[in-house]
Symmetry: C5
Subunit: 338 residues, 5 copies
């Protein structure tokens, strides 16, 4: 190990072109903040790990990073274009990993992407779109040098763990909304607003599933593939991330299925409501039928209609009408039609 | 084997921090109730098995257990946080197993979690949430020393068997409710209460499926993976548990599908009811049409309307109305519209 | 071979505790009817096969059988409790096989279970619930000694073949009912009775699928697993059973899917019927509108209404009403609304 | 090679018991038409291939064929009973292959079955049910001796290729009907006739899928399993058949899914139509409401109703009614309700 | 390497029978435009690659190409007939690859097919149907000789990459249309035009899925199968294409599922609209019921009806009618029925 370097005082050097942080670590402690161009010289020294964080970097910065670590053209192209599926690719003895991040912004999920280049002595993270800064990861790692001292595979673990942990609050918020909605739906059926919300939740959960699903395979390969990069002692850590991703995936699938149940319940509630309205309609029609028919008959202009001359004919007829309507009303009410 | 220890009289020592029971067994008989801190010293003696039962333990107790058996940080973290998927993980020569338990509480399923640490000479169970105590397992094991004498893999089997057996009453209750509901639905379609119940049953069964499903893989691995922990003679026992879990899973899947059928049948019944209401409505409308039209016509005030002056005109018209309405009523009834 | 034993005259000895038949066969011919307790002594002799048939035996009988053939506790427990999934389990050099049987009882499927213990020189069948007796299998086997002479694996084949063949009449009856129902549904949509029948058929077919499905795996293992029990020359027989089970399974799946189509067709037919009723309703409403409006107007009591004093006013108005109603009626009829 | 036999003039000999053709081929040329009983003697000669075609043969003929080529009892049983799934089975060094054929008969698919026995020096085809004769295959093969000279595996390929090619016209006809139907459905929704047609098409496609699906596996095994029967140079031919079956399967699946889309579109169209009818109904009701209410009021017999005595009261009221109705009509029309 | 040939000036020679381009490349530079008949002589020279592009060629041209590169009859047959599934087939040491291309033509997807023959020293592309010319690929390759110099596997990559890249604009356009439609649907439900569009989009996406899906397997085999044709250094390129195809496939699946959600949302919106119309209908019916009943009663011709003689009877009745109707109207409006 180059002891000299470990005595250098760490300094902060953030570039305007998308470089968030670039540091060198020895034994889990930051020994230098460096410029991209110096990276390859630091990386070479035994026991040194270069950790660079970029946010939507310019192509110039990416190309500069590429030169430092001899990264493959295709991986750099992906990191520049973004819109990749979560995946893990091995180029020579380096790894290229893509993960999608999720955050709740104004009630709907905003997705981001993180690209990670990892190799002997370095890790470069590239963030795109809506995505929390990895400053907390850096701080947590720096506050625990013993863990960080394990090297670049530990940093990789820390970032993936952070990404996966950040799915949870998103899911919890959706879970709560789904629970509120299901109470509403079962009570009153779905109005326009609920239908729209149901639709958007299903779409968002589908996208979240697409973001989380392939990550299972990424973590599984980090755990099982005996990559040169990942020491055996780190495999339980990646197994733990795999496990958390699977839990997230199960929750997403459950929510998706629950929303499908809610749709079907809503269809039944809606059908019941429509039938109730039709029953009301039929009941009123039957009730009006009585005065319409009776009054119509006594409104005819026949010369010879004896009832018209009875002294209490009018009261009798009004009584018959009132009684019949009341009986009908009462029977419809009892039958649950009114 | 340490013969001395097998002469110690068993005593009960339950801690207030979540320790339910902690005993040492030799040849299937409890030889001591111990404190957590003594566990590692007992565990080391040949033929001795330490069996510790915890219920929502404090982190302090968990950490103490961890020290005794050199458990992995990640497993302890899982046991502390709960909310894990059923799984089996090997750490060194110890196993960490998670299972979900289910109980009916007030008509809906309450879920709990059990975490098991098993290794050479020890088994630790950690219960979370709604979950039956394992006291019956302990009693049954202790009442059959010959079986218990087989060691920690037998205890593991006994607990998993107990968990799986406890799914059955839950399912039977749901099964009965589903059968009651299907009779109701086929007779009258679904009202608001049935729709809500259908929805909740589907949601509960989905959760139960998530709880039971991954356990198949856990048991299968205990049966097939030739784990150092599990002696060959125990494999038929774990195969039996696997088989019971699969039976449970099949019952859950059947119930889920039957509820989907019930939903679809309900949709058809609802549609038929709506059509029946519409037919009633149309029939009454047609019947009212007759007096409305006829009486309307003879209610007109034309000077020259000969019928109005006929002696029996009124009776004739009332007769025509009555006859026509009766014929219509009879035909609608015969056609099943009324 | 023990020649002496082959000269013993077969006698019938049916116990009251669930023993249907218990015989010893040599070279495909029954040489003795035995008591359970003698089984192990007969089984030991070269070329002898003990074939025992039980029907819902008492635990005592089962335990007695267990002692004779050294059967595993767990297998005996399954055979006692019933309610098992179809499966095949190897215990030492014996096999334990579970199959579900199906029979039509009063228009719905009644399920039974058969448990088979097979080993060198013996086969024990245990029947539970609705299940045809295996007397026909026994008779057929005894009538063809050359086949039966092949041994206990041939008996196993004969029973499985019998079980699978018995699914066919069940399916054919359901098939015919489905065809009757589909004609009805396409002609008139589903009434309450058809919906109930559709629901019950789907539930029965689901249960039948659960009964038949796992049997494919059982037969496949008898064909492929090179079990000590099954001689190579018998494998084409088990392949044939596998093939028949798969055919049954395909038919069940087809029927299930056809019923799903019937449900969907019924939904469309029901929707079309409802629309037809609404169209009728709207048509009659429009037709009544004419006399209602016109007669209403000429029923007003204005002093100055010249038409009322025309000599042919009344006839004119009645004519207009009749013409308009006829035209409307004719147009609605032409448009298919009436 | 037996040169003498190759000089024999081919003669036609069709039996009345189901033998369509039975010929011997050497170097791709027919050298003899034979009786079933001579088959085994011809088959033995080097370079000779016996090709027998049967159509619903009597059991006697089948048994005779069985004796000639030592076919297995179970295969003969299948060929006699028909109603088999597509499959390939190896018996000793012979193959038994089942395929289902499809033809359009009167707008719906009629299925047939073909059973093929192939072995060193012979091929026997057995046709059941609706199925094109293999005369065209025979003619095509005979017209190209170079190909036919390759032997019995080429004949097998030629027949399977013919069967698969015959699925295409069936599918094309269904495809065209589906396209006609989708235009109709999108324009007017489904009437009774379309619903019935949709139902029958889905049922037929399901059956076709069951007929075609397992054939993929049959062809794949002929291509990959290194069967003694199939020379390496023939494998691309079977790969080609596999590929065509997969294409057919994809088309069936697409059609099935398109019909599911058509069902769902039809449900929406039907719903839209019902809503349109309801809107019409509501509009007319509102329009009638005006004269009903106004004329009703002026039809009352109060002594003191000043309007009744106005000179132009009647015209005013009629005007008000006409105007209001027109305005309502115009607004409903503009809103798309009428 | 044949240096002489590399000095020949490239000339353009496009045949009228479907030959788009035919060139010879050495070290990534075009050294000659050739006639099909010369291909095999050029192909033999070390370091030379023949690249031929055909568009719906005549069978004569195809046969000529076949002779030059000894292509298999079945592959030529496929290339002549088109209507193939995407696939990769190895014939000797040559590859035959089929891919489907997609373009948007007038709002719906037009599909084409490309067939590629690749072997040591040559690549032949055959285009069918709606398909962009590969001129841009040729230009891009020629403008970067260093890449092209890698040989025929690079050309293969370049063409597949081009095909896959061309799916993206198609999907983006559909994506935008889906987003427009979902806004519309959630606001107003689906009209006839939207239902038709939904149906056609689902059908087109299904076809696109069938076109893209099998390509994953084609690319995966080019990446993993260690084909003689594909050098190790080219595998990351094919992995990149695989990855892009998978991304496309995920987008298609998402769109398909989103359209299924839209269908279901539309069903709910439609149901809500129908209920709203029924509520309006019922409200108006109830409101008309008031004047109908009251005016009907006072329109009766009874001699003894005291109200008729009250001075303000008429005003009172009109007042009652107006008040009741207003109250009803107001209550219905408040309840959201009007
Ligand atoms: Mg869940
Ligand atoms: Mg969960
Ligand atoms: Mg789930
Ligand atoms: Mg589901
Ligand atoms: Mg759905
Ligand atoms: Mg569902
Ligand atoms: Mg979980
Ligand atoms: Mg079941
Ligand atoms: Mg079950
Ligand atoms: Mg099931
Ligand atoms: Mg289903
Ligand atoms: Mg369903
Ligand atoms: Mg449905
Ligand atoms: Mg079961
Ligand atoms: Mg079928
Ligand atoms: Mg079938
Ligand atoms: Mg099927
Ligand atoms: Mg369906
Ligand atoms: Mg079949
Ligand atoms: Mg297709
Ligand atoms: Mg296709
Ligand atoms: Mg499909
Ligand atoms: Mg498809
Ligand atoms: Mg569907
Ligand atoms: Mg195709
Ligand atoms: Mg993507
Ligand atoms: Mg997506
Ligand atoms: Mg996507
Ligand atoms: Mg998806
Ligand atoms: Mg869906
Ligand atoms: Mg649906």
């Amino acid at each position: 190990m180059n002891v000299a370097s470990s005595t250098i005082v760490p300094t902060e050097a953030v570039s305007s072109e998308g470089v968030v942080a670039a540091g060198v670590y020895v034994d889990g402690r930051r020994v230098a903040s460096i410029a991209i161009d110096e990276a390859s010289s630091w990386r070479g020294r035994p026991g040194h790990v270069v950790w660079i964080g970029l946010h939507e970097p310019s192509l110039a910065v990416l190309t500069s990073v590429q030169r430092q670590f001899h990264l493959h053209d295709l991986a750099i192209e992906d990191a520049d274009h973004a819109h990749q599926r979560p995946k893990i690719e091995q180029y020579g003895d380096g790894l290229f990993i893509v993960a999608r991040t999720a955050q709740l912004v104004g009630g709907s999920i905003a997705f981001g992407e993180t690209h990670l280049f990892v190799g002997e002595g370095y890790l470069v993270s590239v963030r795109h779109g809506a995505s929390t800064s990895y400053a907390p990861v850096r701080e947590r790692c720096e506050s625990c040098p013993r863990a960080l001292a394990r090297g670049e595979d530990y940093i990789l673990y820390a970032i993936l763990d952070f990404i996966v942990d950040n799915y949870s609050p998103v899911l919890e918020t959706i879970q709560e909304e789904v629970e509120t909605m299901e109470a509403l739906v079962l009570a009153n059926g779905m109005g326009r607003a609920q239908i729209e919300r149901l639709y958007l939740l299903r779409r968002d959960l589908l996208r979240l599933r697409n973001a989380v699903g392939p990550l299972v395979e990424v973590c599984r390969r980090l755990e099982h593939d005996n990559l040169a990069m990942v020491r055996a002692s780190m495999q339980p850590l990646f197994r733990d991330v795999t496990d958390h991703v699977k839990t997230i995936q199960e929750q997403i699938d459950s929510l998706r299925e629950v929303l499908a149940f809610a749709f079907e319940a809503s269809l039944l509630v809606g059908q019941a409501q429509e039938t109730a309205v039709s029953k009301k309609l039929a009941s009123w029609l039957a009730i009006i039928a009585v005065p319409t028919a009776i009054a119509g008959i006594y409104g005819m202009n026949f010369k010879h209609m004896p009832e018209l001359h009875w002294e209490y004919g009018y009261y009798m007829v009004v009584g018959i009408i009132a009684t019949t309507c009341s009986v009908l009303f009462w029977r419809f009410r009892r039958a649950g039609w009114l």
